[in-house]
């Protein structure tokens, strides 16, 4: 159980875990239902299709329009479903929020009514001839394929995606959480419904998070509903995210599109996992490197050299990778790359000022405190911790960050290796 007075596990059965995060300061409550699977080519596309098809209608509310109207009746309740990943775990999720009853005098148990609606969408889909409605499946295949293709539209994030795809080509991490277009095209209403009933609903681990001002009786109402789902042997998601080292030779990739600005990405291996002692030092190291206005990247690439509007580094703790991304003028590629790599060298040599270090710690502590003001961000943090099997709560997390020294940061930096560079540039 996670040590933290902010969250408690309500119960667990059949591979379904329920957590509550009570908090009275919000006007709303949230319900988040997460189905987890290991990222694998065989199931990734089918998994990704499920949230899109399910949102099209339940037995009781048989179309998106009907669902939308029901949400309106529940005073602007929201519902969305989507697919994402954390490291090498693919998650399909169903997320909802609504106003707490007391702010709307004439309302009647919005929580239970919303629970009924969501549970129906997730477990009792609208069927035609005993399977998913063919039109819904075909339309959502197009939706998902479009989403994958549209990832190319935003060149900044597409460059990051491509860098990871190149860097981790032989690892599950490179698998797009939306699946792949060929597999999606081969899906039909029969095969998908069969997969949904006999694998997705029966075998995937499920985590449910409820946040906000919700009476225990209402939480138990929701928990009881899940007892009716038939369950079998649950997929094991505990052994994911093997931390890999970089190959001895750096991989350089260039791709050309019709762009005005170049997008430069550098992918690094951190060689550290959240369970390692140096993990907190790595977190601070990343912040010093490129995690904010005081960071070496912002100060040197943007402020001093004027080369970029953005230059930052982001860490994926689930995979042990760090990615630097920057939007630059194409002719400045070599100059920018040099300055970026220099900043990491500086940290490895211990050239970190007190200002850089103190600002990093403060910025991180602010970020953690801000997390506590967001219902979904609190749930997301704890979801991550449960996936990693780590029992540290927010308070202890911050305590560990505050204990990091500059020497620790240098030690962590020395483990960081450049793996791949990716440059999205203009056509010749």
């Amino acid at each position: 159980m996670i040590k933290e007075d902010r969250i408690s596990k309500v119960t667990e059965f059949n591979g379904i875990e329920f957590y509550k995060i009570p908090e009275n300061k919000f006007k709303t409550f949230t319900i988040g239902i997460y189905f987890c699977d290991v990222l694998n080519k065989e199931r990734v596309s089918s998994n990704a299709m499920i949230p899109f098809v399910l949102r099209r209608g339940s037995q009781e509310y048989s179309s998106s329009m009907a669902i939308s109207r029901r949400l309106h009746e529940l005073y602007g309740a929201s519902f969305y479903s989507d697919v994402t990943k954390k490291g090498e775990i693919q998650m399909t999720y169903f997320s909802s929020d609504a106003v707490v009853d007391k702010y709307i005098p004439e309302s009647e148990n919005i929580f239970r009514n919303l629970t009924d609606l969501i549970f129906g969408i997730v477990t009792d889909p609208f069927l035609e001839d005993g399977k998913f409605k063919k039109d819904y499946v075909e339309q959502e295949k197009t939706t998902l394929i479009d989403l994958i293709e549209t990832q190319k539209n935003n060149k900044d994030s597409y460059a990051i995606q491509r860098c990871f795809e190149e860097m981790c080509k032989d690892e599950p991490y490179s698998i797009n959480e939306g699946g792949d277009i060929e597999s999606i095209k081969s899906i039909n209403a029969d095969s998908l419904y069969d997969y949904y009933r006999n694998f997705y609903l029966k075998k995937l681990p499920i985590k449910v998070f409820i946040t906000g001002e919700v009476p225990d009786a209402d939480i138990n109402y929701l928990v009881d509903k899940f007892k009716s789902i038939p369950r079998e042997e649950i997929v094991d998601i505990s052994k994911v995210g093997i931390i890999k080292s970089a190959d001895p030779e750096v991989n350089h990739v260039i791709e050309r599109f019709n762009v005005v600005q170049g997008k430069l990405c550098l992918g690094f291996r951190s060689n550290l996992a959240p369970s390692d002692d140096l993990y907190y030092a790595l977190t601070v190291c990343n912040t010093v490197f490129g995690g904010g206005i005081h960071s070496k990247l912002f100060q040197n690439v943007r402020e001093k050299a004027g080369l970029a509007y953005y230059a930052s580094s982001r860490m994926d703790k689930f995979k042990g990778v760090i990615i630097v991304s920057s939007g630059i003028e194409i002719s400045n590629k070599d100059k920018a790359m040099k300055i970026i790599l220099e900043q990491l060298e500086e940290i490895k040599k211990g050239n970190i000022t007190d200002v850089e270090f103190d600002s990093a710690i403060k910025t991180y502590s602010t970020a953690v405190n801000l997390l506590k003001d967001g219902q979904r961000s609190i749930a997301d943090f704890f979801l991550g911790q449960t996936l990693l099997g780590i029992k540290t709560g927010l308070t202890d997390f911050m305590k560990n960050i505050n204990q990091v020294t500059i020497d620790d940061v240098v030690k962590a930096a020395q483990k960081i290796e450049l793996d791949t560079t990716y440059f999205l540039t203009a056509e010749e």
């Binding site: 602007g76 935003n154 019709n258 206005i293 602010t366 801000l370």
Partner: protein
Amino acid sequence: MEVNMGYQIKECKQLGEKVYEYIHPSGLKLIFAPKPGYFEKYASFSVNYGSIDCKFKDLSGEIVTVPAGIAHFLEHKLFEQEDGSVMDKFASLGSNPNAFTSFTQTSYLFSCTDSFDENFKLLMNFVQNPYLTKESVEKEKSIIGQEINMYRDNPSWVTMMNFLNTLYFSNPIRNDIAGTIDSISKIDTELLYKCYNNYYRPSNMVISVAGDLDYNKVIQLVNDNISSKWVNMSAGVAQTIIDDEPALVKEKNVRAKMDVFTPMFMFGFKGDLTGVSPIDIARHQIAMKILLEILFGRSSSFYEQLYNDGLINDSFYCGFESLRDFGFISFEGESNKPEAVVEAVLKHVSDVQKTGIDPTDFNRVLNNFRGSYIKRYNSVESICRQNTGNSFAGLDIYDYFDLYATIKINDVQSILEGSFDEGKLSLTVTEPYN
């Protein structure tokens, strides 16, 4: 000890919310919303001056025109002080500073979880003290140049700017908020100071604060950090001039090519709110919101039909934008047949005009918006933004809450006619190269 500092408490009991509103002797307004239990403290210092304020009658009566992008340029430059970047100082305090320039407003803000007093002092001080040199202005041109290029690669942004250019002949909303590489090359320190001195005046500015703080302290900090120069400043502000705009649109149909997978479109109807009072503009906005959801929202038969026919996808959105005294309805999304979407909209409007608005739809959609309005109070940022925006619009703190409680089906029915005039319609499409 509570000092009578001339503040007013405004409350909304049903929401469980209140604010302290204080007018500083300089004319500057402070709005503070206490949020017990929150870790985040948020403060913004905003001026009712944005990208569309590029032609004005200055305080001496002279008509001045400045290059596009200057409000945004000024926003960037204010962070640079004689003793270094203000961003660094915020960073040492562990807070998150930011700023933005919109069509009608510039805001400087920070959020923090501790050291509120120091952060707040810093915010108030740098905004009151611009420091501009020739060198720093030139360097900023290259940084902003990269920002402009970043947006040029963004198909959504390009589509929207093209759309505004089809809708309007001369209204400065047609200009990119950041300007163009050419327009910003013409900016110098003299022009920047001119804009600052004419618009950044206390009676034209609002400070919004929200968080778990003591209101006495917040007011005291404002009293201690607004300069005597400001107290002694005259009450005048430059008057923005927006040249008369024809009622009809400039172009009906414009196409551009970019690297997109499915064509993106934006089309809409031009509208005019000249001479309408602030509260009536707000009522109009709410009525529009309700009308557009009934007609074209996710809960509408229109949306379901077009989605099933493959004419629109999840990206489809219809909204109403109002900026001071003009506005427009816009539809945006992706489609292989944008013209068919336009046709469908016109037909649907015509159909509903014949039958009128269904009271069940009205009540359902109204309840939806009542709830989503309440949700905004979860966020200190959202509260500050609303309070600032409402103040600039001439509205009181809880006017919107009251309007949601009193709006009637007739308010919606009456705007169904006259808002979708085909003469005021224009379409922009951004399509792939092949």
